[in-house]
């Protein structure tokens, strides 16, 4: 859950790319493109927030950003430091209480896209942000926990997940189901009474995975320039299926890179002044 640019992995050193960019920047640009203008989007901090604000600064000026702190229609000109950053309250259309944001806005299905990060995800798009290890009571690693994610994953009309892809984070079965994707497979969301469609895209630093319409299993549908299927398989903890129409995703455009770096620079500057 590193902030964009703070711990950026360097792009391949080979001079094959016309413009140098980091894996972070590629992932953020790809995630931003997944947000159509005018969409109402429930945003988590970190990668999702950076992508949503990049989208607003580029192709989606009318994107409606909702943060779980109760800020509706936030229009920050820098990346917020937390989901309760003052700039979100000061630039939003409305600020409501935390019970209201969950009960009146999220729960009835008013929000188009829920935009989440995760520590661990499995092949059915279930998310773990609670514990790593065999047992809940004696975890190998204690993670922050659920936050708003379980109900965002349940009630937004669709969900997009943004996270780094490694063999440890993309697993056959999550150690703990914090937020339900497709549960144990087709039909499970309906049986559980979950109203939204679930995770329709998982955007990583290697490419994009989408659920197979028949099996609900996350399937590789896009890779970034220079990334091979083998590269992605090597970072996936299950036998990864690949779409018949695998796409090579466009690298970040100069306007995307300019906008993202500008957001980052303003954010770093204001952090120093805090």
């Amino acid at each position: 859950m590193s902030a964009i640019g703070s711990a950026a992995a360097a792009a391949p050193a080979a001079a094959a790319q016309p413009a140098a960019y980091t894996a972070d920047e590629m992932m953020t640009a790809c995630a931003a493109r997944a947000l159509p203008d005018g969409t109402v989007c429930f945003v988590g901090i970190g990668l999702p927030s950076a992508a949503a604000n990049l989208a607003r600064a580029t192709h989606a000026p009318n994107l409606v950003l909702i943060y779980e702190s109760g800020t509706i229609g936030a229009k920050p000109d820098r990346l917020p430091l937390s989901i309760g950053d003052g700039i979100l309250a000061e630039t939003s259309d409305a600020v409501v209480s935390v019970p209201e944001i969950f009960n009146y806005w999220l729960q009835p299905g008013r929000i188009g896209i829920g935009f989440l990060g995760a520590a661990q995800i499995d092949k059915f798009g279930n998310i773990n942000t609670t514990v790593i290890g065999e047992t809940y009571t004696h975890p190998k690693a204690r993670l922050p926990g659920a936050g708003g994610a379980p109900e965002i994953a349940a009630s937004c009309r669709e969900v997009i997940v943004v996270m780094w892809q490694t063999r440890r984070s993309f697993v056959q079965r999550v150690d703990f189901v914090t937020s339900v994707g497709y549960g144990n497979g087709p039909g499970q969301r309906e049986r559980l009474g979950l109203t939204g469609a679930g995770p329709l895209k998982v955007i990583t630093d290697l490419g994009v995975l989408e659920p197979d319409p028949a099996t609900c299993e996350l399937t590789l549908t896009g890779v970034y320039p220079g990334v091979s299927i083998a590269d992605v398989s090597a970072q996936t903890g299950w036998d990864l299926a690949v779409s018949g129409s695998l796409e090579v995703i466009e690298p970040p455009s100069p306007p995307e890179l300019t906008a993202l770096r500008r957001l980052q620079a303003i954010s770093d500057g204001s952090e120093g002044a805090a």
């Binding site: 859950m1 902030a3 901090i45 970190g46 779980e68 702190s69 109760g70 800020t71 430091l81 937390s82 989901i83 309760g84 950053d85 003052g86 979100l88 309250a89 000061e90 600020v95 209480s97 935390v98 019970p99 969950f102 009960n103 999220l106 729960q107 609670t130 047992t135 809940y136 009571t137 975890p139 690693a141 204690r142 922050p144 926990g145 659920a146 936050g147 708003g148 994610a149 379980p150 109900e151 349940a154 009630s155 703990f176 189901v177 914090t178 937020s179 339900v180 549960g183 499970q188 559980l192 009474g193 979950l194 109203t195 952090e271 805090a274």
Partner: protein
């Protein structure tokens, strides 16, 4: 009617060993000064309740004030892990910490039920998650399925939160103890209205509470103690009064990572500082550390 007292008096009179204490403030208006005063008065065996037990409860847990935590998200916002919280859960240091964990929607509804004087609230939530039936703990004591008596739909009931004490920080109060806060207002109103007793620290006490867009007002008669503590939300912020000290949140990662370093911070920045002083001290936790 609320009594206007010093922070030390408010904590001494409202918070006792073994209490269930909810200190709220959703990334904004976090009652940090009150938290440090609880540490200074060496309260023990508290059940700490908070949606986002961030740095505030990391300090209380590390200082050994808590035996149980009821929460929904325990991280250092925008930075990473809470090391004292993790050390308590993973290694039982400085003592074991019992957890009861929820989602934000569940916690918010539990506060609403507490404020409303009903035993539970209903939501669409938790369905299919591990939180419903916490493994190894014989389920989650505050979450049960419920069938709607009108439609037959399966929903989730969550038990009301009725803390012994709620502690919040607000922008201001008047001399009669009426409290006003605005910006991101979180669940503070619900926490105060659901609790048996309440403590409110404020940036300033004024003659007249002027109108503020979106402000929540808590009339004096539902608040017990008001203490004037300028900067009492530091390192979080009070909209209109102060900015978030992000350097402190980043510095906390280093301070809290190591037990010895944390104990030194407790000595210099909590026990070595008089009650009610603003900020987190100028010791190693200070801005620019």
């Amino acid at each position: 009617m609320a009594e206007i007292v010093s922070l030390a008096d408010a904590v001494a009179r409202a918070i006792h060993d073994g209490d269930a204490v909810a200190m709220e403030g959703f990334t904004h208006l976090i009652p940090f000064a009150a938290g440090r005063e609880v540490i200074r008065q060496r309260r023990r065996d508290l059940t700490l309740i908070r949606m986002t037990p961030d740095v505030l409860y990391d300090q209380l847990i590390g200082a050994g004030c808590a035996s149980k935590l009821i929460f929904s998200w325990g991280g250092n916002p925008g930075v990473g892990s809470l090391h004292r919280f993790r050390d308590a859960v993973e290694n039982a240091w400085p003592g074991p910490l019992q957890l009861e964990e929820h989602s934000h929607a569940g916690m918010a509804n539990r506060y609403v039920a507490g404020a409303s004087g009903v035993p539970f609230a209903v939501l669409r939530g938790y369905s299919g998650t591990g939180l419903e039936g916490l493994p190894g703990l014989d389920g989650n004591p505050a979450i049960r399925p419920i069938t709607c008596p009108f439609t037959g739909e399966r929903l989730t009931a969550v038990a009301a939160l009725r803390p012994d004490v709620a502690v919040i920080h607000a922008q201001r109060a008047d001399r009669a103890g009426n409290v006003q806060f605005w910006g991101i207002t979180g669940v503070q109103k619900e926490a105060v209205m659901g609790a048996q007793r309440s403590v409110v620290t404020v940036e300033e006490i004024v003659d007249v509470l002027g109108p503020q867009p979106g402000a929540v007002v808590l009339p004096s008669w539902i608040v017990d103690y008001v203490a004037e503590v300028p900067g009492g939300a530091h390192p979080s912020y009070a909209l209109g009064y102060s900015a978030r000290d992000n350097h402190f949140y980043v510095a906390w990662d280093e301070i809290s990572r190591d037990r010895e370093r944390f104990l030194r911070w407790l000595d210099t920045d909590v026990f070595g500082v008089s009650p009610g002083l603003a900020g987190a001290g100028t010791g190693e936790g200070g801005c620019g550390a």
